[in-house]
């Protein structure tokens, strides 16, 4: 099984291949033909959505209806792979897009506003190519399919996201492990809880926008890390030599949290957002955790919770909102769950999202944050 392979995704490969990975490149392996199919399908199932796969099959003129992943794999994808209707590269193309959004802990940072010209220069095509080459990273237009890499591996660098918007993307794949439920076993007369470890592929994405916004999107760790803040800083460290990290600060979401916590009030309803949970605190050390039924329309529909929260917020001692859970209605239909956590710059998206959905909900939250 070949774990790492290159493929051109945007056009002809650059003349010089990256220095790492023992010279394995698409000329030796073809366009992912040697990728172990079982591994590929496992990664596809965990990182892509059924909708994205259906979209691919539809575009290829292949039957695409399936109500579950097991049916999709057995009745649609495997036969299509066997008869050549689709290729490994097609599926890896789906993974490549899907792994960037959804089910992520997103940490937001901002580049010093007085240095945006420098930032723009630093993430230009020319500067990024030189930096990537010096570090042995994939060249522009290349993608490394690192299914379960032994060490965190930069799989893609590109300038331009969703067209030629000038933003910068860096992706790092890593292997994480989940533990299954531990089972009590007797070994040599002693009892032990034994838990099987299951590997999964995690992808962290760093995106730098030209306006100075920096997103670090992290796959959930199998067990809570010492801090996601530290994990985000580790991801940002990959930018060394490209941008000045001392000019990067956390982007506070305090105003958005405050605005969302107000949604319980009568007349403060929003067409786009519903409030389900709010945690409020004050300088006396009081903390109130409140939640309402999602199915019943959240806080705004409750006849009890708005009054309780109101009591807390008029009680003095500088009350503030430290955490909220809201849903965003994307294009008036799909509800996207978002948690703005106690940490000042973190949003957790709990569902798989398309690029459009991610950009839609993040943009809406940032609009609330800047308008408040």
């Amino acid at each position: 099984m070949f774990d790492l392979q290159y493929v051109d995704i945007l056009g002809p490969a650059a003349a010089q291949q990256p220095l790492c990975f023992g010279g394995q490149n698409m000329n030796e392996f073809g366009a992912f033909d040697e990728v172990d199919q079982e591994t590929l399908l496992k990664v596809l199932e965990t990182q892509a959505t059924l909708a994205a796969v259906r979209s691919l099959l539809k575009a290829k003129g292949v039957s695409y209806s399936a109500s579950s992943w097991s049916k999709m794999l057995a009745t649609r994808i495997k036969p299509a792979l066997e008869n050549g209707s689709i290729s490994n590269a097609d599926l890896i193309g789906v993974i490549r897009v899907a792994e960037e959004h959804g089910n992520k802990h997103v940490r937001l940072f901002r580049y010093n506003v007085e240095n945006l010209t420098e930032l723009s220069d630093a993430i230009s095509d020319t500067a990024v190519s030189a930096w990537g080459e010096a570090n042995g990273y994939p060249m522009a237009g290349q993608y490394v399919f690192a299914a379960y890499p032994e060490t965190p591996t930069v799989t893609e660098i590109r300038v331009g996201d969703n067209g030629s918007d000038g933003s910068f993307i860096l992706k790092i794949a890593r292997t994480e492990n989940r533990r299954k439920r531990a089972v009590l076993q007797e070994i040599d007369g002693s009892e032990f809880f034994v838990a099987e470890r299951v590997s999964y592929r995690a992808v962290d994405v760093v995106k730098i926008h030209l306006d100075g916004l920096i997103e670090v999107r992290m796959d959930p760790r199998s067990e809570p890390p010492i801090s996601y803040s530290g994990s985000a800083l580790a991801a940002l460290k990959f930018l060394d030599g490209l941008v000045d990290r001392s000019l990067i600060g956390e982007l506070s979401l305090a105003k958005a949290k405050s605005a969302f916590s107000e949604l319980h009030k009568e007349g403060a309803s929003s067409e786009d957002f519903e409030l389900y949970e709010a945690s409020l605190k004050n300088d006396w050390g009081d903390r109130i955790l409140s939640s309402s039924q999602v199915e019943q329309g959240g806080m705004a529909s409750s006849t009890v919770m708005p009054g309780i929260i109101e009591l807390f917020t008029v009680g003095g001692h500088d009350p503030y909102c430290e955490r909220v859970r809201v849903s965003y209605k994307f294009e008036g239909v799909k509800k996207i769950n978002a948690i703005l956590t106690e940490d000042i710059n973190e949003i957790i998206f709990t569902a798989q999202l398309s690029r459009e959905e991610h950009e839609g909900v993040l943009g809406a939250i940032l609009d609330v944050n800047s308008a408040s």
Binding site: S246, G249, E250, S252, S279, K281, W284, R287
Partner: protein, 117 residues
Amino acid sequence: MFGRRQQRDWELRLEKEVQKLRSASTYREVTLNRLKELVDAPSEQALSDAIFGLVSDGKLKVVYRVVSPRTRASIATFKSPLDVPETMLDESTGETIDVDRFHDVEAVYVNEAAVAQ
């Protein structure tokens, strides 16, 4: 020419919050996350360095609060992180917990001699 360096906006905001803590006539506290929101420092490192200086100079008092991993209720407060025990009774659930120092302990800045163990 060699006068005192002019304070930046975020340093003034930090000084204001420290003053509010020090001059409060009743108990007052602020968590690190809240301080970050109020001060909006240019980087986490800059704020950490400034807070370290204030604590070292005795201008800011910090205590370490153990919160319940299940209920987030305050269980106990300690003057030093080294005093936090490895296990303790979670009085909000009645269960003994293994204290995770990275997730169940939060730094809290207070205005008076905290009721810390």
